[in-house]
Amino acid sequence: MVDQYTGPLERIDDTRWRIPKSYRPDMRVDGIIYADDALVESIKKDKAPEQVANVACLPGIVRASLAMPDIHWGYGFCIGGVAATDPEQGGVVSPGGVGYDINCGVRLIRTNIALADAKLNMGRLMEELFRTVPLGVGQGGVVKFNKAELCKLMAEGSRYVIKRGFGWESDLEATEAGGLIEDADPSLVSDRALERGSDQCGTLGSGNHFMEVQVVEKIDDAQIANVMGLVQGNLTVMIHSGSRGLGYQVCEDALKELHDTPRKYGIELPDKQLVCAPVHSPEGKKYLGAMRAAANFAWCNRQIMTHLAREAFAKVFEQPAERLGMNLIYDVAHNIAKMEPYEVDGGTTKLCVHRKGATRAFPPNHPELPSRYKAIGQPVLVPGDMGRASYVLVGRPGAMEHTFGSSCHGAGRQMSRGAAIRASKGRNIRKELAERGVIARAKGRTGLEEEQPDAYKDVTHVVDVLHKAGISQKVAKLRPVGVIKG
């Protein structure tokens, strides 16, 4: 059983709680958790707030150690954790602030297809997606890349696989960083990582990864939704996946290599899983170079699956995907570390921003936004669970001011996998989902049981907190109508 958090949580306002740095002598800044009064009670049930306090001890941390309302316990950083460090002040980078699944993220594709017109084809569509998209344990992708090709793919990002026919040029503009983080160094990715990833680019994985067909159920901001191409009653496709075995191995390699690095730089850590190195150190640069390469692999992964989804839709609806309007709305990472400029003490400083289960949420007019989103802000994609809802939001100025341009990434688990399986005894989760209007197919024997809706918090509650806090603004609610899982 996981211990509960018993330390201080001071209410700042309706949406924020503070762990004061006076709580522990090793904390350099406060911890701040975004939550309302109801959510904070469940947050205290595990040790995630203690992890927020632990992260507050990292050298060079700026302003505060943050957590989004979908906070729950993780390795080193909690899930939902955000922390920015200043490299010029000895700030560190920590693989625990990114996670094993480097650039796990979400992308959303729109369509011109009304659910009302598609109902008769939904069964066929889900079967075609289930058949076409590689998913589950041990499933290889439709294309296997050799070592040289993988290195090119990691160096060029999404553009590499688009040039090979897996997508449209327009997908690049709608992908965070254009599907390519600069300064990736594929030569730093180990042979073992390359071996694990060689047949996994374009595969979904399993666990909480999914491809979901949704209907736009409710629009909260018609003007912004119109810019994105979201139409009430029309279908969308959401893909949640990451860097697969290649990324997991890059993290594994880094954790091993950095094992003694804190001691080398005189860094004392409250938790060994916060192993880290100064950003400007050879060790820090090595991790960042490899992490960026893995991040680019993840964008290629989601890009290939986008192509496969388009092909499945085209086959079932007997029209080209272009005619179906299957444009990419956006793709955004929620496990990553990026160098981004922020106002600190009256000047602009480039900080190393860790988002571990947290989504970038840039406001209108941010220079990194594609031209079509400059006026409205960056789309923020927040998957919930396969029974209830997911959300599309946009970043607000409050994110730049308070959370280093970050918002939540999902609902957060409230039930362990074992508990979810036990709660499923005597039930047919697939049938229950069908009764809710969701066609669900899973390859793994326990996939639907472990990922059932009750295993997750209500994502509406999570996004409402950040909407109220001025971090990200609700645009549309998406209801699942079909899901495939590994």
């Binding site: 071996e195 399993s206 594994e252 996998r417 326990t446």
Partner: protein, 140 residues
């Protein structure tokens, strides 16, 4: 296999608890625990290939973790599982294993979930009454 394993709940992931009379006796049940987390894996026992693993470095728990990580890569990269050990040395800061692996029979196997990694969280190997116990958490 004389040792035992059990899987236990751990937040969003899973734990493996292993018990045996000797350190060396932890190896096969630890492997079995990892495979049980992935599914019910079957392999053609008659098609065994040589498997070797050697590691050294002070902490026994980390050595066990590193061994399971090797098995995870063997499974993902080569679609093989360990089917038995012939020689196991584990102690005094080193581990040496010689055994057999075989290709997973996809048709006969049932898959539950992917294991991303064997974490360092709550990693423990200690002496208990009657032998040794190890605890590892796997990231799903």
């Amino acid at each position: 296999m004389t040792g035992t394993f059990e899987l236990f709940d751990h937040t969003a992931d899973m734990g493996i608890r292993v018990r045996a009379e000797t350190r060396a006796g932890l190896i096969e049940p630890a492997a079995a625990g990892l495979y049980a987390a992935i599914g019910e894996l079957k392999a053609d026992q008659s098609q065994g290939k040589s498997f070797q693993f050697c590691a050294r470095g002070g902490d026994d728990a980390i050595l066990l973790r590193d061994f399971l990580t090797e098995l995870l890569v063997l499974f993902e990269r080569d679609h093989c599982i360990l089917i038995g050990t012939d020689e196991v040395e584990f102690g005094a800061g080193q581990m040496s294993i010689a055994g057999k692996s075989a290709t997973v029979d996809v048709e006969q196997s049932i898959f539950y979930r992917e294991v991303k990694a064997i974490t360092y969280h709550d990693l423990e190997l200690r002496e208990v009454d009657g032998g040794f116990e190890a605890k590892l958490i796997v990231d799903i």
